[in-house]
Symmetry: C2
C-alpha cells in the first residue's frame, strides 16, 4: 500500500507524494474517504508533514487542485465541434463534453461529491467551469449571430443538454441504465447527440 520512502530527505518529493496520495485515494474511494491519516498512510509519510508543508488538509487540497486539470480547455472542446450550423454544433458538443469528462476521472469524482459537500475541490471546479463556460458560449454566439433572433430558447436547450450530459456521464460510472438508455454505450451517446441535433434544428426552423 504505502509507497515507502527511503531515507531520502526531499521536501518537494514528499509534497509530491502527498499530492499524489490525495488523487489516488480520491479516485479509488471518493473524496469522502480523504483524511490526514489515510493520506499519510498512502503516501508512506508521517501525517505531521501535511500540517508542516500545507498547513491544513485544505491547503493540501488546494495544492492538488492547482496541479490537476479539473475541467476541459475550451480549445480542446472547440476543435471537436462541427460548426456547420447551431444544431450540429450542439450535437457534437455533447459528445465532446462527455469525452472531455471521461478523460478526467478526478473531475467526475468532484462532480459527484459537490452534490453533498463543499470543499476546496468543489470551489476550484466551480471557478474554472464558470470561466470556460462563458468562454465557450461566447464562441458559439460569435459564430452563430442568427441564434440571437430566436430568443433564449437555444441557449436554454444548450444548458439543459449540457446538464444532462454532465449528470448522465457521472452516473454512468455507477449505473448502467437511465430510463432505459444504456448510458455507458458510445452508440447510445451518438443517438443522444443526433436527437439533440434534430431537436435544436426544429427549434430554429420554427
Amino acid at each position: 500500500m504505502a509507497k515507502r520512502k527511503q531515507n531520502t530527505r526531499d521536501r518537494d518529493a514528499t509534497k509530491k507524494a502527498l499530492i499524489e496520495a490525495v488523487v489516488s485515494i480520491a479516485l479509488r474511494d471518493g473524496l469522502g474517504s480523504l483524511g490526514v491519516n489515510a493520506i499519510a498512510r498512502q503516501a508512506g509519510v508521517d501525517k505531521v508533514l501535511i500540517y508542516r508543508y500545507f498547513k491544513n488538509l485544505d491547503g493540501l487540497y488546494e495544492a492538488v487542485c492547482a496541479k490537476a486539470d479539473l475541467w476541459w480547455n475550451v480549445d480542446e472542446i472547440v476543435e471537436q465541434i462541427d460548426f456547420a450550423n447551431p444544431a450540429t454544433a450542439l450535437g457534437s458538443y455533447i459528445l465532446a463534453h462527455r469525452q472531455a469528462l471521461l478523460k478526467r476521472p478526478l473531475a467526475l469524482k468532484v462532480l459527484a461529491a459537490e452534490m453533498t459537500d463543499r470543499s476546496p475541490f468543489t470551489v476550484a471546479l466551480e471557478k474554472v467551469r464558470e470561466d470556460r463556460g462563458k468562454d465557450l458560449s461566447q464562441r458559439f454566439a460569435a459564430r452563430f449571430p442568427e441564434m440571437a433572433g430566436h430568443g433564449a430558447a437555444v441557449l436554454i436547450m444548450a444548458n439543459l443538454l449540457s446538464a444532462a450530459t454532465q449528470y448522465l456521464t457521472v452516473r454512468s460510472q455507477d449505473i448502467e441504465r437511465f430510463g432505459g438508455m444504456h448510458i455507458r454505450d458510445d452508440d447510445t451517446w451518438i443517438e443522444i447527440s443526433q436527437a439533440a441535433k434534430n431537436s435544436v434544428q426544429g427549434l430554429l426552423a420554427s
Copy 2:
C-alpha cells in the same frame, strides 16, 4: 436537541422516534451525517435500541424507506400534464417532475447522496423510480401512438430532459445559477418548459 422521552415505555413510540430522527438528521445534515450515535442522540433514546429493534442501521434505514414516499406517484404527475400533444405533454411534465421533487426534500437528499454512496436509501429509490418511470412512459405511449413513428428520438429527448430536470432541481438546493440560468426561479423553469416543448415540436414536425 434531543427530544426527551419521559419514562414512557413504548416500543412503537421509540421506533417512531428513531425513524423520525433519521429523517430529521438526513434533511438537516445530509445522509452522510447519519450514524448510530447521532441518531440515538437526536431521538433521545439509547443507541442500543437501534440494534434491538432494527438489528442494524440498515434495518432502521429500510424502515424509514418503507414509511417515506421517496418518489412521485404516477397519478400525481399525470394529472398535471397537458396531453394536448406530445410536445406540450413533455413541457408540462418537466414542471410537474420538478414540483414533485421539491415536495419531497428527502428525495432530493437521496438523489444527491446516490452520486457517491450506495445505501438502503438509494436502492429503495432506484426500485420505486424505475417502476414509476416505466408506468409513466407507458401512459405516454398509449396516448400518443404517433410517437412510435419518429423512432426513439422523442423518447431520448424525454429522458434527457428528465435527467436535466432532476439534476438541476437537486443542484438548485445548493447553487443559484447553472450556465447563467437562475435555476431557483419559477420563471426560469417556465422558460425551460417552453423551450423543451418547442424543441420536441420541431422534432415531430421534421
